[in-house]
Amino acid sequence: MRIFWTLWKREVASAFQTPMAWVILFFLLLVTGFNFYAGVSVLNHGPTEVTVVESFFNTVFFWFSFLLLFPLLTMRLYSEEYRSGTIEPLMTAPVRDTQVVLAKFLGVLFLYAFLWMPTGLYFLIFWWQTHLTSAGAIGAFVGSYLLLLLMGMFYLSLGCFCSSLTRHQITAAVMTFAVIALFFLTGLLSFLAGHVDTVMQGITITFSPIDQMTQFSRGIFDTRPVVWYLVMTGLCLFLTLQSFQARRWRS
């Protein structure tokens, strides 16, 4: 357990010791800040059916920055260690492969959570300025951020897997983005279909982050996406462990 924490601390520290985390944080806040401004300005045009929280989590700006986040966060995790050779001192120390895989995943998950944390301030400021809550109920906040975390777990573990396959960061980033985009676009099928029957809806709700976010940001809780994301995270981490071990057997 102590070794796990040592590895985890290094993962988190290395993200903040390089400019990467700060650059990502800067641009994420820039985009989401504008996104929030747009969401609030909608309210100025008269009564609407959506709350600020709902509109914040359902714009092009939000999804665009959201999707770009994962390749950037995960591409270096394994690829850089392979490329610089630091994997060799790491794996000749008495550490288990599972400890390394989990430390890298939970390290980047912490970073991901850290990046979204300041966005909560937007809603606090809104409340402070207008004396109105930005959502109908507390469940809308919990739901939105819970889904954000769940989606993050799946996509980050997917990124871990892609990074563990190659020593080239860019290759890892492109693979991660392609696979995430595939899942995301599958979810968009429901919009293309127009009139959606219940079977189709059942399938797309599993894949479609947009549909899920629409529900969760209203405070409607659905267990299907929760199970889906948890299972997929587990699967991706398992695959990461396999590819990480296989890489040494192959080399």
Binding site: I3, T6, S14, I87, E88, P94, V95, R96, R248, S251
Partner: protein
């Protein structure tokens, strides 16, 4: 401490290591010697638990490197070739991280890290980013990392490569000092280095051990030492024909044979260099130099050089490596094959 049985490892169709067996006892300093691509690094990567072998068994302090990997790895300090380090970390921070990773207890970490910094003479750069360090310092940080948990065994892959002469001397001194407390296996393709630091040498070529023994034993076994030659450079006052000089030299009892050294008997230079093989007749001690000197004085030759040319490990090494059938043509000097 280290026992290796029938180790085999191939990368695709090429065998890196073929049926390698050897053992290293506690307290020994063993040099692993071979040209580049001989399988030194591969063997060390397998010993340190990084690469799995295709076949064979490796035991580190009694623990199998595959089945009891963590226990075996905890007993090894490994310095990989090229010393990969995290450039964004600071020296002290990196060593504390490595110490924790290797299971040094929390309250002893500071003490152990200080010791390692002190030993490797890098205390003054402890707050520097590793990315800004020179090659010599990186090497020493790597060495400090290998030492930090005071492992029984040190596996050092080319510990002096890329260092300047002063740093090479420092690292050699350091290794000699470490030999008192650790069992050391180090690889090198620089023979003088191995000769200086190691109590035993393993010569490896094409993934197989071709010779093993102390530097002195190897010298004896190679058969080269017996022909350790003498060089003599003279100028004859009366311009005696160099062929005549050869005849005179060969007539001496202590001399088995004499020859010109190539390129020195030109017409423009009056200095001529000869190579003399001593004879081992009962009356001579095996050193023909006093006799040669007396002869030069008697004939009035000017003497510029008279030196016994003891065969170095380099020649011994070459003789062993070239003995393998099917070995490709290679230059006689090992230095020419050093990594770019």
């Amino acid at each position: 401490m280290i026992s290796v049985q029938g180790l085999t490892k191939s990368y695709g169709p090429t065998d890196a290591v073929r049926d390698l067996s050897f053992s290293v006892d506690r307290g020994e300093v063993v040099g692993f010697l071979g040209p580049n691509g001989a399988g030194k690094s591969t063997t060390m990567k397998i010993l340190s638990g990084y690469l799995p072998a295709d076949a064979g068994e490796v035991k580190i302090a009694g623990f199998d490197i595959l089945n009891q990997s963590l226990k075996a790895r905890a007993r090894i300090g490994y310095l990989p070739e090229n010393v990969p380090l995290y450039p964004e970390m600071r020296v002290g921070e990196y060593l504390r991280y490595r110490a924790a990773l290797k299971g040094v207890r929390s309250r002893r970490i500071t003490e152990k890290v200080e010791d390692a910094l002190e030993l490797c003479n890098i205390s003054h750069v402890r707050n520097q980013l590793i990315g800004t360090l020179s090659k010599g310092y990186r090497q020493r940080v790597g060495l400090a990392d290998a030492l930090v948990n005071e492992p029984d065994i040190l596996i050092l892959d080319e510990p002096t490569i890329g260092l300047d002469p002063g740093q090479i001397r420092e690292v050699r001194e350091l290794i000699k000092g470490l030999a008192k407390r650790h069992t050391i296996l180090l690889s090198s393709h620089i023979l003088s280095e191995v000769e200086m630091t190691c109590s035993r040498v393993l010569i490896i070529n094409k993934g197989q051990i071709v010779a093993t023994g102390t530097p002195a034993e190897l010298r004896e076994r190679s058969g080269i030492a017996l022909s350790g030659s003498v060089r003599m450079e003279i100028q004859t006052a009366d311009r005696t024909n160099s062929e005549t000089v050869l005849t005179i030299l060969q007539s001496l009892e202590e001399v088995a044979s004499a020859s010109f050294v190539e390129g020195t008997s030109s017409s423009t230079s009056s200095w001529t260099r000869y190579e003399i093989t001593p004879s081992f007749s009962s009356s001579s001690s095996g050193d023909p130099r006093p006799a040669l000197f007396e002869e030069a004085v008697r004939r009035g030759w000017k003497l510029r050089e008279l030196s016994a040319h003891e065969s170095s490990l380099e020649e011994i090494f070459t003789s062993f490596v070239d003995r393998i059938p099917g070995a490709p043509e290679r230059k006689t000097s090992i230095k020419e094959t050093s990594t770019p």
